[in-house]
Subunit: 169 residues, 2 copies
DNA sequence: CTGCCTGCAAAGGATTTGCACTCAT
DNA sequence: ATGAGTGCAAATCCTTTGCAGGCAG
């Protein structure tokens, strides 16, 4: 009856974690669960926010542990982070493989573009802070050019571009 | 005999400052002088670094004042900042008009951070931290697309893109 | 069992704020 | 003169670290 009995991505993450020789503990499970849930809701959480939710979910887990966990899980490749607005760093599960979000993405109408995960790039509104996902292909041109001209390999999903969203223009 | 008797840009900045109804004080002069000097050297300074240099230049100016000054000068439009690597925020004079830096830029300096100025976009190497300038036009494609699809107005010079430079690939 | 991971608590570093005073205008 | 700007110092905020004990493997 629970809506999300055990996200397949969460399971995969835990498996990967063990593969990497890391231990699976309650704290790590809680962190991954929180991040996975946020991913599903297209939310971008900072270390602090993750800490808060973990605290709500598993009060025995200490803040410090959350920070250490985020670091080790990222090192292990289970988590990835994106730098937003030059200020915040948000975490998400490292998408092992591109998933097919059932939703009809590609739409522009409302707010977001598509979903989180994989190689998405991000843009953030400097006014309202909202984060929008951008299909990686949107940056292909720049990426190619940077590689050509500067030999610079662009990581399209590591940092957010800034600007103003339609609501704040 | 001083190498930089009084940078025209510094003078202009001070003038603009007054125009905006802001007062010209020793502290602000010092901050602007430090930032202008760094600009000339194609350096990117964080608030903290600016604070350090101001302290060396004008020991009576308090750290807190530097922070407040950076904020007000930015609000006044005299200074602008760029977010690097998603972590650091660096300041530079707002280029009132595109200037011709005598130096042969476009090239990657030696170590540290590189470059500044007007509408340049920035890319930063996640490995060595080096910052490269990118002509704004390189992002025109993305910018157009974001505006079209999302109504998002991209600010190409506000945040740095991340990746790996040729040396660190 | 062994040592990786955790809880706790205290340290740390960067930025901010209240308040009274000073100086630019 | 008059209030924007400043100095000082304490207060925050977020994150990290040293240690001893506990649990995963």
């Amino acid at each position: 009856m629970d809506p999300a009995p055990a996200s397949p991505r969460l399971t995969a993450a835990l498996a990967l974690l063990r593969t990497r020789g890391e231990r699976v503990t309650p704290a790590r499970r809680a962190v991954l669960q929180v991040v996975d849930a946020a991913d599903g809701a297209e939310e971008h959480l900072t270390a602090e926010q993750i800490g808060a939710r973990v605290a709500a979910l598993e009060p025995t887990v200490h803040r410090a542990t959350v920070y250490r966990t985020l670091t080790s899980l990222t090192d292990a490749g289970v988590l990835s982070h994106v730098h937003l607005g030059g200020t915040a760093t948000v975490y998400h599960l490292t998408a092992t493989e591109p998933e097919r979000a059932g939703t009809s993405e590609a739409e522009v109408g409302t707010a977001a573009y598509g979903h989180v995960h994989s190689g998405h790039a991000h843009v953030q509104c400097v006014e309202c802070g909202r984060v929008l996902d951008v299909p990686p292909e949107a940056l292909e041109g720049v990426a190619a050019r940077l590689l050509d001209d500067l030999g610079f390999t662009l990581d399209t999903s590591h940092a957010a571009l800034l600007g103003r969203c339609s609501d704040c223009t």
